[in-house]
């Protein structure tokens, strides 16, 4: 793709922001998204917050997911670790990651709205990927200790695809929540509530009467859509669902960001 140089019109920049005087390279959209994502990822890695999230995640994954399931149960099962990833990391920690992506400072970045939203989502999602990649250490350890048996890497791979899909959607919802309000606490609670509702909607389905309503709540429940991956299946329906959830949240976040800018 061809890069072009754009001279920033200093007069058009709000007075409270220092007007850039240099010529900024105008990148392609993908380049811009990548640059923003890199910036967000590096910022998370350079902040104690990112390391704190990683430490909390590993502590719970080890304590509840590994020791509680594998060692206490004497079985090479990753179900406990996956539950920690979905129940703690995705539900409670992803909104923390996306907090710093809130719209503060958005006006200072020379990028289109969708580039900004996509870049910030990609940065947070990349951090999520790093976190669940660390959980591969458990796979490595069990591969060593199953002795004479071999792990079902097809099952593990499918579950990881599911975790990536869930993480992508949750991060997008977090970006959306952080775009709705500026207050950090409110943004966190909103993100938590949205992700929690999407994940657990199937469990409130029983409170309703009417087959259509129950079927709808069952379908939109990410918990249900994730199950096929955890059983070792790659299902078109569930892949479309998570892709839609991710894209839909990002599309909704874009006009919200525009209104703030």
């Amino acid at each position: 793709m061809r890069s072009e140089a754009v001279r920033v019109n200093a007069a058009a920049v709000p007075a409270r922001i220092a007007a850039p005087t240099q010529v900024l390279p105008r990148r392609s959209s993908i380049g811009t998204i990548g640059a923003i994502a890199r910036r967000e990822l590096v910022a998370l890695l350079r902040a104690p917050l990112g390391w704190g999230v990683a430490a909390v995640f590993l502590f719970f994954a080890s304590g509840f997911g590994f020791i509680g399931t594998v060692i206490a149960g004497q079985q090479a099962s990753f179900d406990g670790i996956y539950q920690v990833i979905n129940g703690l990391l995705t539900l409670a920690l992803v909104p923390v990651l996306t907090l710093r992506l809130r719209t503060e400072g958005a006006t200072r970045i020379p990028a289109r709205d969708y580039e900004l939203v996509a870049g910030r989502w990609l940065g947070a999602f990349a951090f999520y990927v790093l976190l669940i990649a660390m959980a591969l250490i458990y796979v490595l350890l069990l591969a060593i200790y199953v002795r004479g048996q071999s792990l079902d890497f097809g099952l593990i791979g499918a579950t990881y695809v599911g975790l990536l899909a869930v993480g992508a959607a949750a991060t997008a919802i977090g970006v959306l929540a952080s775009g709705v309000v500026n207050n950090r606490v409110v943004a966190y609670v909103l993100g938590l509530a949205l992700i929690g509702w999407v994940w657990y909607s199937t469990f409130v389905a029983g409170s309703f009467s009417g087959t259509a309503r129950i079927d709808f709540l069952d379908y939109v429940s990410a918990f249900n859509r994730y199950q096929s991956f955890s059983l070792g299946q790659l299902t078109l329906r569930d892949a479309v669902y998570f892709a839609s959830l991710t894209l839909g949240a990002l599309v909704l976040a874009t006009p919200l960001l525009r209104s703030k800018r």
């Binding site: 099962s77 890497f153 070792g232 525009r258």
Partner: protein
């Protein structure tokens, strides 16, 4: 917000909803598990496709995680994909009192299958492929094979829950797979009841009376089915003679000698009296367990030449380096001596012979330990379980069920020593989170210093 961005968002969202509606109506899925955990066996596919009218499947689950609902519904979906007659309905166990009362459901997370006015219930342990297929076939056939279990002559009993030598696991398997069982006092029997689809005589320790032998002989001659297990070094040698008398028309016998396996690849690593088998003779019984290791603890050999009308199939044999000790010796004195018989030995064999319009079928086992509780899950792998279940199914002439294997679970069993556990706890709970905390502290310190 500009009008254009709102319009774009609405259009994209509408497209996404449309994509989901379209995708939810199709179920293309790829099973990527090594053992095909999400792929039905041909027998299960056949059971689903042979449904002639709707089979209403009702899942009565208690909402919450860990209720097995996802796994069970995924399995039902596999059957539904094979037949439009598999119709699934989910209900809340706690609120749907009408179904709970109608089907007399006793525990949550139960699945009911109703077909042509008959019902089968599957509790959580039975909600696997073998359980579903067995239930579907049972509903379609309406037949529940009756296993008459010989008692009263020192045989292993189905009600014995001893974790070692008990046979209660076999009772559970038979119940789970739609068999009925009934105790039969063989010593008092002058004939085998006509409703006995098969007779099981496992490890009797006393002599079977002559009238009982005559009853067995008549039963088999009329196309009866028999599972017969013996033991080496019988306390009463005449008990072995009486068992062999029952087998005489078919040309085979139990040797009574204890088989010792010397080949490490064909025995338990800790005990040469526990024969391990992974290569089996070709039979419907063994179709699905080739390559899987089953154990025959304290077994004797099956000897003799079958009669010309008998189709004999050795199922499990020992290695050529095994030997058999005829007379009892101490456990410390099991080394090979002159006079010991040389292997290989057959330790499990099936016999089949035409009996008019029927077929006589016999399964011979050189050990009663083959299906005792300590040899079956959860104490051991499921190869013995599959073999014993397939044997009962073959005897019941449910050949379509014989090859429905129980699949390996998603979690492998581990045997972690105390040292292993300590290492793993240190790495996962101390080292890994500790490194993250250290990284965070360094990051915080650098920011503080450089700012």
């Amino acid at each position: 917000m500009t009008r254009l961005s709102i319009v774009v968002a609405v259009v994209v969202l509408a497209l996404l909803v449309g994509a989901n509606v379209a995708a939810s109506r199709s179920m293309p899925a790829i099973d990527v598990t090594r053992d095909g955990l999400n792929t039905l066996t041909p027998q299960s596919v056949g059971a689903a496709k042979s449904l002639q009218s709707d089979a209403q499947v009702i899942g009565l689950f208690r909402p919450g995680t860990g209720n097995g609902q996802a796994e069970t519904e995924a399995l039902i979906a596999l059957y539904a994909a094979q037949s439009p007659h598999v119709v699934y309905r989910r209900e809340n166990f706690d609120t749907d009192r009408s179904d709970v009362k109608l089907y007399a459901i006793k525990q949550p997370n139960t699945v009911v299958i109703e077909y042509r006015g008959k019902t089968e219930q599957l509790t959580p342990p039975a909600q696997d492929e073998a359980g579903f297929t067995a239930a579907l076939l049972k509903l379609q056939s309406g037949r529940v094979p009756l296993v008459c279990w010989a008692v009263g002559d020192g045989e292993r009993g189905l009600k014995d829950v001893d974790q070692g030598a008990g046979y209660s696991s076999v009772a559970d398997i038979l119940t789970h797979d739609s068999f009925a069982t009934r105790d039969l006092v063989l010593a008092q029997a002058t004939s085998i009841p006509g409703d006995c689809d098969q007779l099981a005589i496992v490890d009797p320790t006393s002599v079977l009376p002559t009238p009982s032998l005559k009853a067995i002989d008549d039963y088999l001659a009329a196309g009866g089915k028999l599972l017969l297990a013996a033991e080496p070094w019988a306390k009463d040698p005449k008990s072995m003679d009486s068992l062999n008398a029952a087998l005489k028309p078919y040309g085979l016998a139990f040797s009574g000698a204890l088989v010792i396996e010397t080949d490490p690849a064909h025995r338990s690593s800790s005990d040469p009296t526990i024969v391990a088998v992974s290569g089996y003779g070709r039979s419907p019984i063994t179709d699905e367990i080739q390559g899987r290791v089953s154990f025959f603890p304290l077994t004797t050999a099956i000897t003799g030449a079958p009669g010309p009308a008998v189709i004999a199939t050795p199922i499990a044999t020992t290695s050529a380096t095994s030997y058999a000790i005829a007379q009892p010796r101490s456990v410390q004195d099991l080394g090979r001596k002159a006079g010991d018989a040389s292997g290989p030995f057959t330790v499990m064999e099936t016999l089949e012979q035409a009996a008019g319009a029927k077929r006589t079928r016999i399964v011979l086992l050189g050990t009663g330990g083959f299906a005792e509780n300590r040899t079956l899950p959860p104490s051991n792998s499921d190869a013995n379980l599959d073999l014993v279940l397939a044997s009962f199914q073959w005897l019941a002439e449910q050949d379509s069920l014989v090859s429905t294997p129980s699949k390996q679970g998603r979690a492998l069993p581990l045997a972690l020593s105390q040292q292993d556990q300590s290492i793993l706890i240190f790495i996962t709970s101390v080292l890994m989170p500790g490194l993250m905390v250290f990284g965070g502290v360094v990051t915080w310190w650098r920011r503080r210093v450089f700012s």
